[in-house]
């Protein structure tokens, strides 16, 4: 594996992700949660909570974080790290927007 290699794939138009919401992208067996903030920033994380693998794409989105639906851990969308007293980190994927199309680097 070479960390330098980035393979950008288009996942669809920005408008298909609700603001303050998310969509799921399937990549083989890996599930990726793609979030769109109120200010249209977009983040992609593996859809797997560092606590007990809860589906982050189903959480409530607020202030750059998502609250996991299973046991309320709060995960930073930018870094994938658990906030507050909880420890753990979820894999993140680079995101780019070109002509209203969202691309993520797999």
């Amino acid at each position: 594996m070479n960390a330098q290699v980035e393979n950008w794939v288009a996942i669809g138009p920005l408008s298909e992700i609700p603001r303050q919401g998310s969509r799921r992208v399937l990549w083989g067996k890996t599930k990726i949660a793609v979030f769109r903030m109120s200010d249209d920033r977009v983040y992609a994380l593996e859809d797997k909570c560092p606590h007990k693998n809860g589906p982050l794409s189903e959480g409530i989105v607020h202030d750059g974080c998502v609250t996991c639906p299973l046991h309320n851990w709060v995960i930073s969308l930018e870094t994938g790290s658990a906030q507050g007293a909880d420890e753990g980190r979820t894999r993140t994927f680079p995101v780019r927007i070109e002509d209203e199309t969202v691309l993520i680097a797999l």
Binding site: G12, I17, H62, P69
Partner: protein, 816 residues
């Protein structure tokens, strides 16, 4: 003589004598107390009439001493009796109803009378003063009819009246004689900002307006001004000032000047008689705000108990206006004058204005508009006579900018001296609060309020009191924080109240107006706010799907592995062979890994993939089944037993009633889940006595019980009452559900809500007050119009389709 109690008679039952008695009972039990009150009620917080007028509080919320308090202290209270004569020779008083009471000591606390300007038409029906609950209620009922109101007087009372009437939907004009509003408390610049803020709320303000006459024949129809112009009016409120109510004392030959003249111990020219409150004049001054009156109350109590005090001393009381969103603070002297210096800071963008007036390097006055956070700090230095030469440059920027470092309000509270006044209304200093916290082990704002009265009146110092709690308790405090969540110090109750009072109708609006500290809230407050808005504005508010927990967003229960469970409604637990067959077929068609009977008399299909949800729902819908709401903070199940139809002990049709109730209640959103049961006889096979609402059928009708729980906490229900017909059961169930919907805090089950607000109160509203019950029922029925839509059918039809399918799918190779 020592065993015999002395007789203390009090004329007037307002805020001042109420407070005096609290002190007196702490000091001595030497008196047997009798009170005459011209108003037909107990002692209440007059200050809070404005929130009652605006709808933010009710009369019950503002009672200071309930009837039990008078009983407990053996006080005779003559309500609705006005004293008409004092006989100083015989030492007795006589009331308008002929009651005669002898006294050893007499306290006159007759307050003030509103001043009515002597213009033609002043006695017409529809012309009101603003002084007591009767006035307030008269204004509320006038406002219910809508129309135009004219408020004469642009001072504190007039503006609070105007804001309240406007919130109740009237067209309001304020007439003010002077060039700018509240000229006794505000300078022109801040008066102007205030005027603009009121105008932005739709209140018309006319300054330099001199009333000539009130027009109308049988009732008020308009107001004519000196300049000849005429304003239409269905209601006129006169709030142009108050006069000490000293006539009775004068007739009795007691020395009266502007008010009843007293010495510094509140004793009048007759040494058996004391006067306190707004009717009293000490050292040439009369007062119209409670803080000095409470000081008088303390002094008088000590004098009556025979204890020495330093006596009453004048001090400046800050003024605040209780109009939500118009923050102003004014204290001391701000007139221009020889040797006075002003420091002014304006921030047009934020609509704020600050002015501090100095003399000999000491603060003598401050006027703040908009940003009032530093009011207390300036006042503290004013009282203490602090020399401010060292911080002149930064003074106006406030406490946060003194001595570098970032501002920590808790540290600032910790640094205050013990005699710093925290609660202006009640004259409570830091030392008293800290002592109460440590001596009594207090951990919450509400407890400090109960023990010290700090923040119990106008409430604007609540933040400061809380900072003191934090300073004293350190980390121990955090756990007891009363705010809804970390985004606001406001508790659920306050947020609910303000949403209604300020007509806040969206989550961003609530966050903006109530000054949320985070831009988008968090997973705790957002669902709560969404519920409050859904419940308060049926038909108007559009549900915010992004603020719903996943279960309520996709209308199924999320499982530990990310799959979902699906529970269709099985009305009252009654099913049919056809329904069962359909469920069986669907379970096979979708390879449902687990089918289970729930504890709620219905069937759970577990382990369903998210993308299969719309398909399963479509199939269930096709067989007449809708969402069971097994995931909602809303109606869950109505369990029934077989009852009269089959059981040899059954007394009524419990299954039939259960089905009716479930069909009536389904779809409603409630603060937490709502579970019912109807059981056919007291053997209770449907477990009605541990449900949120339970119906126990008996021979004579239906016994209604509520407030049960059998989850994390086990609690038997409390009886509400027994009624004869199913119609009454349904109406009362709707009323109790609606009251709970309107008052409950998010995630608070009925039993917690009832424990908090009181079972007697709930009973008096939903059972005994037939009119209130009907109104609650009607509001519930109205909101059901918007709630009874099957969420599954909506999603089968395409709503939120993006939830149920991935946005994109790539084979692993795509990355290579």
């Amino acid at each position: 003589m020592e065993t015999q109690k002395q007789k203390l008679v009090i004329i007037g039952n307002g805020m001042a004598p109420g407070r005096m008695l609290e002190h007196l009972f702490d000091l001595t039990d030497a008196y047997e107390v009798t009170i005459f009150n011209a108003e037909p009620r107990v002692n209440y917080d007059r200050i809070m009439l404005s929130p009652v007028l605006s709808g933010e509080k009710s009369y019950a919320d503002i009672i200071i001493h309930g009837e039990g308090w008078y009983e407990e202290h053996g006080i005779t209270l003559h309500m609705g009796e006005k004293v008409v004569g004092i006989d100083r020779v015989e030492r007795k008083v006589t009331s308008d109803k002929g009651t005669v009471e002898h006294y050893d000591k007499l306290v006159i606390a007759t307050g003030s009378q509103p001043f009515i300007i002597p213009v033609p038409g002043k006695d017409l029906p529809g012309v009101l003063a603003y002084r007591d609950l009767d006035d307030t209620e008269a204004m509320i009922s006038a406002a219910d009819k809508g129309g135009k109101a004219v408020v004469i007087g642009g001072g504190l009372l007039g503006l609070e009246a105007a804001a309240g009437l406007r919130l109740r939907g009237m067209d309001v004009t304020v007439l003010h004689l002077m060039p700018s509003l509240m000229e006794r408390q505000l300078d022109e610049a801040s008066g102007y900002l205030l005027q603009r803020a009121l105008e932005a709320r739709g209140i018309d303000v006319k300054c330099r307006a001199n009333t000539k006459a009130i027009l109308g024949t049988d009732k008020v129809e308009g107001v004519e001004l000196e300049d000849g112009s005429v304003l239409e009016a269905d209601l006129v409120v006169m709030a142009v000032g108050i006069r000490p109510n000293s006539g009775l004392a004068k007739e009795a030959g007691i020395e009266v000047n502007r008010g009843i003249v007293t010495d510094a111990t509140m004793r009048t020219s007759d040494h058996a008689i004391y006067a306190l409150g707004e009717c009293a004049e000490v050292d040439g001054r009369v007062y119209g705000l409670v803080a000095p009156l409470y000081e008088m109350a303390k002094v008088a109590a000590h004098a009556l108990a025979g204890e020495e005090t330093a006596g009453f001393k004048h001090s400046e009381t800050p003024t605040k206006l209780k109009v939500t969103g118009c923050d102003l603070y004014s204290v001391g002297d701000f007139a221009e004058g020889e040797g006075r210096e002003d420091i002014v800071l304006r921030d047009a963008q934020r609509g704020s204005y600050k002015r501090v007036i100095l003399k000999d390097n000491k603060i003598i006055g401050a006027v703040l508009y908009g940003d009032v956070a530093d009011g207390g700090w300036f006042n503290e230095m004013l009282r203490a006579g602090t020399d401010v030469s060292d911080m002149r440059e930064t003074l106006i920027f406030g406490q946060a900018h003194q001595g570098g470092g970032s501002f920590d309000p808790v540290a600032a509270a910790a640094a205050l001296p013990d005699d710093a006044e925290i609660c202006g209304c009640n004259g409570i200093c830091k030392g008293q609060i800290v002592q109460a916290i440590t001596d009594k082990g207090l951990t919450a704002l509400s407890e400090v309020r109960a023990h010290t009265k700090a923040s119990a009146s106008c409430g604007t110092c609540a933040n400061n009191v809380e900072n003191l709690l934090k300073a004293v308790l350190g980390d121990a405090f955090e756990k007891k924080a009363e705010g809804m969540c970390g985004c606001t110090p406001l508790g659920h109750g306050e947020v609910r109240r303000l949403i209604k009072a300020n007509h806040l109708k969206s989550i961003p609006e609530v966050m903006q107006e109530l000054e949320w500290s985070s831009p988008e809230g968090c997973a705790k407050c957002r669902p709560a706010l969404n519920y409050y808005l859904v419940s308060d504005w049926p038909g108007e508010y559009e549900d915010d799907y992004r603020s719903r927990f996943i279960n309520e967003r996709v209308h199924a229960n999320i499982q530990k592995d990310g799959t979902y469970s699906v529970v269709p409604r099985i009305w009252g637990g009654k099913t049919t062979a056809a329904e069962l067959r359909a469920i069986a077929d669907i379970a096979e068609k979708y390879n449902v890994p687990e089918v289970k009977f729930t504890g709620g008399q219905r069937i759970d299909l577990l382990g369903i993939k998210k993308e299969d949800l719309p398909g399963i729902w479509a199939d269930l819908n096709e067989h007449g089944m809708v969402s069971g709401g097994a995931y909602t903070k809303g109606l869950r199940t109505v369990k029934t037993c077989v009852g009269q139809e089959w059981c040899r002990f059954g007394t009524q049709d419990s299954m039939g009633l259960g089905v009716k109730l479930e069909k009536f209640l389904w779809g409603s959103w409630t603060p937490a889940k709502l579970k019912l049961a109807v059981t056919g006889c007291p053997r209770n096979c449907a477990e009605a006595t541990c449900k949120d609402i339970g119906i126990i059928c008996v021979d004579s009708g239906y016994q209604i019980v509520y407030g049960g729980a059998a989850g994390l906490h086990i609690q038997g229900t409390t009886e509400l009452g027994t009624v004869a017909t199913e119609e009454e059961v349904i109406e009362i169930t709707a009323a109790i559900t609606q009251l709970y919907r309107e008052e409950g805090f998010y995630l608070e089950r009925i039993y917690k809500w009832a424990d908090r607000v009181g079972y007697d109160r709930i009973k008096s509203i939903v059972l005994e007050d037939k009119e209130a019950r009907r109104e609650l029922h009607d509001r519930f029925v109205f909101s059901q119009k918007f709630a009874q839509v099957d969420p599954w059918a909506e999603r089968v039809a395409g709503k939120d389709a993006h939830e149920f399918k991935p946005m994109a799918e790539f084979k692993l190779e795509a990355a290579e």
